[in-house]
């Protein structure tokens, strides 16, 4: 993969799910799209009617480096990203040390660049050490080589209303955005799963929907008050959808993401006490899942973000209460979206491109990604075999961790090729 392909001709690809066409890539850009393109000397990929989309962009990835290299590194995480069809990921700040200085974000950014599987855009912490007390040097992180635009204390909520207000205001100076992990901490002390009929039966401390919704309500009001934009991480409840819908109806600059697992899984799975289903925010109810799908379809929720959260085996091979929260997601995200949104008729492939590439790139002000698939645009592309059906086998993951809730589950679709600026990172489903 050190040798850039000179020219690549993708034959018979359904661009954004349209009619089959040929697409010629050269010099890192899309040169030509049409029928019967001849390109002597080009490497030919027979797409045979597979779907061609812009490379996916993830706003929410835990790459774990520095500090938890036992679960993931920038290298393994970006390889997983490439296999999942991603060409850019936003690396969350809850590393050890926390990504709250220019030094740490530059390190992560540089590692991504060196490995070359996927563009890595570090997310900067909003507050020093994610402690919610003092603003981190947001300007320094933005000015750094990593050019941070997205700031988040993800894993923790910026619960102090004054700190949140100041952060929202401060990042306006460089068109940044605060991505809020909406979780009222006092309402979720010791919380283990969604609070409801299942938690009552299982005797697990509940994480009530209102703990998410009350923070989102506060933050959209704060954003409107100070004229800033705010992004809501991993929105998980029907009530949160209503609040975001209302905020958008007011014309406020509010965006939101949903994870693939919240589009598919419910808290009924927790009855197994299998910690592979332990995640934060927790799996909710069927009614929430349906509301989230509908909201992603109608645009209330802007995008899908994986919240890819790798954990070593021992952190899940234990009792529920002792287990870590989180699931890996990069290598299954597109399949879950195909299953929950495309095959249900809620989204077509062009809309999938919007929700998984264009919108997240726009929210992060990320140049060169989430672009239209047209001549002159950067050749960040993914080719998807939508007809494929297979069972999820974590043994085949590129991620260092295997904590997937989908093991053994049949999901549709498979990424066969990923191109990052014209260079293949994945060919025939295999990393290059």
């Amino acid at each position: 993969m050190t040798e850039p392909d000179d020219k690549t001709l993708i034959r018979g690809a359904r661009v954004l799910g349209g009619e089959p066409q040929d697409v010629l890539l050269a010099d890192g850009t899309i040169q030509e799209i049409g029928r019967g393109i001849e390109a002597p000397g080009a490497q030919v990929v027979e797409a045979e009617g597979r779907i061609l989309l812009p490379g996916l962009v993830d706003l929410h990835t835990h790459l774990r480096e520095p500090g938890r290299e036992d679960s993931e590194t920038v290298l393994t995480g970006t390889r997983a990203a490439a296999k999942g069809g991603y060409t850019a990921v936003h690396a969350m700040a809850n590393t050890f040390p926390v990504a709250d200085t220019a030094g740490v974000v530059e390190q992560v950014w540089r590692l991504g660049k060196e490995h070359g599987y996927c563009d890595v855009r570090p997310v900067g912490a909003v507050t020093v050490g994610l402690e919610g007390k003092q603003l981190a040097e947001l300007g320094a992180m933005h000015e750094s080589a990593a050019e941070v635009r997205v700031f988040s204390d993800d894993g923790k909520c910026v619960d102090d209303a004054v700190i949140m207000r100041r952060a929202l205001e401060y990042v306006k100076a460089f068109d940044g955005v605060v991505a809020q992990h909406a979780q009222e901490p006092r309402l979720t002390e010791g919380a283990q799963m969604n609070e409801g009929t299942v938690s009552a039966e299982l005797g697990l401390a509940g994480w009530p929907a209102v703990a998410e919704e009350s923070i989102i309500a506060r933050d959209v009001l704060l954003a409107a008050h100070v004229g800033s934009r705010v992004h809501i991480c991993h929105l998980s409840t029907a009530g949160s959808v209503e609040i975001v819908r209302w905020a958008k109806s007011k014309g406020w600059d509010v965006t939101a993401e949903v994870t693939p697992h919240h589009l598919l899984l419910t808290d009924e799975l927790v009855r197994s006490y299998d910690p592979v289903y332990k995640v934060n925010p927790p799996l909710r109810t069927e009614a929430d899942v349906m509301a989230l799908r509908e909201a992603l379809a109608d645009g209330t929720i802007d995008c899908v973000a994986t919240d890819h959260a790798p954990h070593p085996h021992e952190d899940k091979d234990c009792e529920w209460g002792a287990a870590a929260m989180g699931m890996v997601g990069l290598e299954t995200a597109l399949s879950v979206v195909q299953h929950t949104m495309v095959e249900t008729g809620l989204l077509d492939w062009a809309q999938v491109a919007d929700r998984m590439s264009q919108r997240p790139a726009a929210i992060a002000r990320l140049a060169g990604h989430g672009r239209p698939v047209s001549p002159g645009e950067p050749a960040n592309l993914v080719l998807v075999d939508a007809a494929y059906r297979g069972r999820v086998d974590p043994a085949g993951f590129a991620s260092r961790s295997a904590n997937t809730p989908y093991e053994g589950r049949e999901l549709p679709g498979r990424v066969t090729h990923t191109w990052l600026r014209g260079r293949a990172t994945v060919v025939d489903g295999t990393l290059v």
Partner: protein, 338 residues
């Protein structure tokens, strides 16, 4: 019977009645000069306690010893979660030692379920209380006590009896197990608590809910007073101890409003002056001490049925009686544990 006892919700009415009837047989031996049965000779039962609970542990220990099992007490307090050995490694250790059954008490809801389904061990798992989830043998001994006092007939359930459970339902594994078991046995259960100490979702449980103790007592056959931890006050579940005692505590005056035959139960240890006054606790209507004795019989029955004792429950001195009707327990353990 299944191989494990994790949740009272897993028990059918037939399972539950079988356990209660078997416990009656076990109780008969308790009155004899020699209380020991040879039934589980050569079997190893481990009491794996991640939480302190001397009462529950010695009850299981006494039960296992009366069945002639070898008992190992493994106190693993403090070795869970962040420090020391994981549940998995502890389980693998016990498996290597050849434990036929593991009686587990754990602070995390679901830990016994995890132990039983993870493949870490091959023996039977008995839940001796997990977090705020379940405590099935407590519910069984409560049902046993109620059946003796209110029905007095083997083979029976608790059909039509009105049982009131009062106190910290939210954090109570005893309440959860009792709601499942008592409703399975045909009783009408009413939970009484301040709204703060009832779980969200309780309306889906097979019981009724009331905030008013006085309103339900007159129609109650048995009232079960749960221990309320004083620390709950600091988390604003109720304003003061005194207010709790006034509104939800059982004193002599309230007890007098119950029907003549009604009994007062408490899983122990009691907070005298909080959920129950000394007058009530020491009255003949209070079965707290009887419950402790019944606990041994119930735990003998559970271990006997789960481990499918090779010897009959009764010594059966008269061979022609063939009286050693061994309760049906499914296949033998060797066939079950592959």
């Amino acid at each position: 019977m299944k191989r494990h006892l994790i949740s009272a919700a897993d028990l059918t009415r037939d399972d539950a009645v079988l356990i209660l009837d078997t416990a009656e047989e076990m109780a008969r031996f308790a009155d004899r000069p020699i209380k020991k049965l040879p039934t589980l000779r050569g079997r190893t039962i481990v009491n794996l306690f991640f939480e302190d609970s001397t009462r529950t542990r010695i009850s299981f220990e006494a039960a296992a010893k009366r069945l002639s099992a070898d008992v190992i007490n493994f106190s693993a307090k403090g070795s869970s979660v962040s420090k020391g050995e994981s549940l998995k490694d502890t389980a693998l250790t016990l498996e290597a030692m050849g434990a036929d059954a593991v009686v587990i008490r754990h602070g995390e809801s679901g830990a016994p379920h995890r132990l039983a389904t993870s493949g870490w061990i091959g023996g039977s798992v008995v839940n001796a209380g997990d977090g705020t989830h379940e405590h099935p043998t407590q519910a069984l001994l409560d049902a046993f006590t109620m059946r003796r006092r209110l029905i007095g007939e083997e083979g029976a359930g608790l059909d039509g009896r009105r049982i009131t459970i009062v106190g910290d339902i939210l954090h109570s594994r005893v309440a959860r197990s009792n709601v499942h078991l008592l409703s399975t046995l045909g009783a009408h259960v009413t939970l009484v608590a301040p709204p703060t100490l009832l779980p969200i979702g309780v309306e889906g449980w097979p019981c009724e809910v009331s905030y008013d103790l006085d309103a339900v007592l007159a129609k109650t056959d048995a009232v079960m007073m749960l221990r309320v931890q004083r620390e709950r006050m600091n988390a604003a579940f109720f304003p003061t101890e005194r207010e709790y005692a006034r509104r939800y505590g059982l004193d002599g005056e309230r007890m007098a409003r119950m029907p003549e035959h009604a009994i007062v139960m408490h899983p122990g240890p009691m907070n005298r002056g909080m959920e129950i006054t000394a007058q009530v606790a020491d009255s003949p209507r209070c079965t707290a001490v009887e419950q402790v004795a019944n606990g041994v019989s119930i735990r003998m029955a559970v271990m006997y049925l789960l481990l499918g004792g090779a010897e009959p429950a009764r010594p059966a001195p008269a061979p022609e009686s063939g009286a050693a009707r061994r309760p049906h327990v499914g296949e033998s353990r060797t066939e079950e544990n592959h």
